[in-house]
């Protein structure tokens, strides 16, 4: 017998549970004759093991509906997973985003972030440029005014283009069979434009359109 008492002691539970090989068991039983303390410890633990056998009988049986409870827990998962499999990638993505934004905390965070961005734009954008949404026309309608103008027959296209560009005017319609153009200019330049057109020498008629 070469094993130390401490190592033999560790074998007691394995011996009692029948987990030792034949050779190990024989060595252990030989050691019991040499070490009385080992034998005493074996008896103590053997009694404990016997008690466990008794206690096993005292454990109340498992309820019959236990598996049904487990099924009710896992079945919603199963159904959800099946639905997920049927859905396409886009739907899954949309569902995930919906789930993400359904969190009240996150929604309020987004609202707060938007507010900060709006305040930042309001305080940093130059006032004269104003604000424009993607769906709006290039300039706000309220700042423009329309003018009807008829150029003289001998006015050249180059002269007409030159004068209109000088005012930043846009041709809204025309020319009509009578040679009438309707142009659009900024409201605040209205008087100056009318004056310049009248004195240009190439305009037969000019008046504000209503």
């Amino acid at each position: 017998m070469t094993s130390k008492p401490d190592e033999l002691r560790e074998l007691i539970p394995l011996y009692l549970n029948g987990r030792l090989s034949e050779h190990e068991r024989q060595e252990f039983e030989d050691a019991l004759k040499v070490y009385p303390e080992l034998k005493h410890e074996l008896m103590e633990l053997s009694e404990i093991k016997d008690l466990y056998r008794e206690m096993e009988r005292e454990i109340p049986p498992v309820s019959e509906n236990l598996y049904a409870k487990i099924l009710s827990n896992i079945r919603p998962l199963t159904d959800k997973e099946k639905v997920k499999e049927r859905k396409g990638y886009t739907e899954q993505l949309l569902e995930s985003l919906k789930g993400l934004f359904s969190s009240p905390r996150l929604s309020w965070t987004v609202v707060a972030a938007q507010l900060v961005i709006i305040l930042f734009l309001l305080t940093t954008m130059p006032e004269k440029d104003g604000f424009r949404t993607l769906t709006s026309q290039s300039t706000s309608q309220g700042e423009l005014t329309r003018i009807n103008v008829v150029f003289k027959e001998d006015a050249r296209e180059k002269e007409i283009r030159g004068i209109l560009n000088a005012f930043g005017a846009t041709i809204v319609s025309g020319p009509s069979p009578e040679g009438l153009y309707t142009i659009e200019i900024k409201e605040d330049k209205k008087e100056v434009v009318l004056e310049r057109l009248r004195s240009s020498g190439i305009v037969k008629f000019v008046e504000r359109a209503y």
Partner: protein, 185 residues
């Protein structure tokens, strides 16, 4: 547990990971009693033990794909059950507002019932700390070897070995507090 049982459980858990409900039912049949007995001994309450069994097998269903095969399936399931049971025990201790371990160890005094050696040892075992009661359960009730216990408890094998004997010494101490000397038993 023989090799065939291990192989069968491994095959079942693999099928469970693919959503096979029949395999899950079979795995439950093979393992639930062991899990329930372990939980009942640990928690000492049928309803709580059953609740944890439900939670454990729900986790098994959800996490079967995470089983790497490094341990036996039963050992893996017992590990899940233990984690959940420990959470429950922590909750129970918070609710009770007492240190259950100290309480159990300090309960002293010989009972007024007629002396009965086996009954006294059983009583003393129930007064052990959860840590010590658990290791005794795993060794003597579930007959696990040291390696399997180390996988369930997630502690080194050497710690398992020493803890078994610390538990036995603690049992002797509880018996002594109850007025029973080593010679009495």
């Amino acid at each position: 547990m023989n090799r065939d049982t291990e192989d069968r459980e491994s095959e079942l858990i693999s099928r469970v990971s693919q959503g096979d409900e029949e395999a899950f039912s079979r795995l439950y049949e093979l393992t639930h009693k062991r899990v329930y007995n372990y939980l009942y001994r640990l928690l000492q309450d049928k309803d709580t033990a059953e609740d944890i069994v439900v939670e454990t097998f729900t986790e098994v269903w959800k996490g079967a794909g995470n089983f790497k095969g490094k341990s036996r399936v039963t050992t893996w399931i017992m590990g899940i059950a233990r984690n959940l049971a420990m959470n429950e025990l922590r909750k129970m201790r918070r609710d009770e507002g007492i240190d259950h371990h100290k309480y159990l160890l300090n309960c002293g005094g010989r009972d007024t019932e007629p002396f009965d050696r086996r009954r006294l040892i059983k009583e003393a075992m129930s007064r052990l700390s959860i840590k010590h009661r658990e290791i005794m359960d795993l060794v003597f009730f579930h007959e696990m070897n040291y390696r399997e216990i180390s996988e369930v408890l997630k502690i080194p094998v050497n710690t398992v070995k020493t803890r078994v004997f610390y538990a036995k010494d603690a049992l002797r101490e509880v018996l002594s507090n109850m007025g029973v000397t080593r010679d009495d038993i």
